[in-house]
Amino acid sequence: MTTAPNIRIRGLKKRFGDNVVLDGLDLDVGVGESVVVIGGSGTGKSVLLKCVLGLLTPDAGSIEIDGREAVGMGTREREEVLKKFGMLFQGSALFDSLTVWENVAFGLIQGHKMARPKAREIAHAKLAAVGLRADEVGLLGPAELSGGMQKRVALARAIAAEPEIIFFDEPTTGLDPIMADVINQLIVDCVRDLGATTLSITHDMASARKIANRIAMLYNGRIIWAGSVAEIDDSGNPYVDQFIHGRAEGPIAMAVRA
């Protein structure tokens, strides 16, 4: 790839007390690329996303977003940079106090200072794009929706402002296999339509294979393997092999006790 990456991470370190979560992680996410980071539970995948978004402050390392250093960025500057981003949270993170359409339009109204009628129009269009009818769900509260519908609304919110970069945090967790595939397909369609760069984290291999151009495996705080979807089955990496086949035996020792 000749163009500079959207996101360039070098030597990223983060620890919580004695627990080293990220230990010098390097990762590039190119323009228009869809990178999926896989790894077991508790390996620091969510921490990685939160460091890039500025929700957590790394202990060391560099995160460049479109060539601008994001570590140590001021609040105002970060708010501007975050306008390029959309994020689908693992638990959807819809605002309980707002209706469905207000959730989808939130970033447009608050972040982009768009008038409510115009934002509502866009919210309805985005709900339609994820297969929901605004006249049926628009005025409901998030608690009145099923888990799959909540994910769709969260996806509509993530793409509402047509961001350049979208993060997906465990997009299929807690969904049945059919609904998980529906969400994966929606992600692929929405990202293709927007031409966005995406960084996803998951431990669901079906999801990773469906939405990724490139897969990277996180283990012990570092990226231990990265390659295309086609290459993953012949990675030659015993850690990757154990993970993608879901074997209990192998070099990855799961902690039985927390």
């Binding site: 939160k50 978004l53 500025g54 929700l55 609040t75 708010e79 501007e80 975050l82 306008k83 981003f85 959309g86 994020m87 949270f89 693992q90 638990g91 993170a93 819809l94 605002f95 309980d96 106090s97 939130f106 970033g107 608050q110 972040g111 982009h112 919110r157």
Partner: protein
């Protein structure tokens, strides 16, 4: 177990918490005065904090005023000083009982609700979602609650004071046989501007403290439902302690001469 180490650890922990609260307060106040301000959210919070607290504050005030008149009569009648009851009721209600009891009731009702709501938003990543949608959580969640509580508590306490004095009047006139007109005249004559001002100042401070503790503990809650529960308890306990402490300080400033 080394006792000195325990004391030292507790002292350092206390200092760290104080520092965190001071930094949180500074950020929160900064966001209260700097644009953008969210009038819709402030109005919604004023309704929640002020209007919906009226029944509980009103009930507390009326029964407190009634009991105050009854107890004062029991004591003062021994010295034939029953005529002081209107003065006792109005001064006690306005200077102390009105603001403190309203503050404690609102701390239980509103402080807990704020901590639970913001705490739930924290553990379900809704606050992270706000940040990713280019919205500052201090501006959107904390500042409207602080402004609303600061503006609403004085009104609520003035209404509570009036209801409390009315409670004393009801018992004094209908049960103890006071003449209504002289009772009211005594009440009005004895009330001074400082009494009302101290009540309003106390209410504003208590409102700020209640919202601040609710927001602080909610914002810092971690984990799951247990974390939110702990945040709620801490918000009510710390707000109650700060109300009682600041009440003494404000009373000292107003009346200790």
């Amino acid at each position: 177990m080394n006792i000195l180490a325990l004391i030292g650890r507790a002292f350092l922990g206390g200092l760290a918490t104080t520092g965190r609260i001071v930094i949180f307060t500074g950020r929160a106040v900064g966001h209260c005065v700097a644009p953008p301000i969210y009038p819709r959210l402030i109005l919604a919070q004023m309704l929640e904090i002020g209007y919906y607290s009226l029944p509980v504050v009103g009930l507390t005030a009326i029964f407190t005023g009634m009991v105050l008149a009854l107890q004062s009569y029991t004591g003062f009648s021994r010295f034939s000083a029953e005529s002081a009851i209107p003065n006792i009721v109005v001064v006690s209600m306005t200077r102390e009982l009105g603001p403190v009891l309203a503050g404690l009731m609102v701390a239980g009702r509103v402080g807990a609700a704020i901590a639970a709501e913001i705490g739930t938003m924290r553990v379900t990543e809704q606050i992270d979602a706000l940040v990713t949608l280019s919205t500052n959580p201090f501006k959107y969640l904390v500042a409207p609650r602080l402004i609303a509580a600061l503006a609403t508590l004085p009104l609520l306490v003035v209404v509570g004071d009036v209801i409390g004095v009315f409670g004393g009047y009801l018992v004094s006139v209908h049960k103890l046989g006071f003449n209504p007109a002289p009772y009211l005249r005594n009440t009005i004559d004895f009330l001074q501007t400082d009494d009302v001002m101290s009540s309003i100042v106390k209410a504003a401070v208590f409102g700020f403290v209640i919202a601040l503790m609710g927001c602080y503990h909610g914002y810092r809650s971690r984990g799951d439902a247990q974390g939110v529960g702990a945040a709620t308890t801490n918000a009510v306990v710390s707000a109650s302690i700060l109300i009682l402490t600041s009440n003494y300080i404000i009373t000292e400033l107003f009346f200790a001469r």
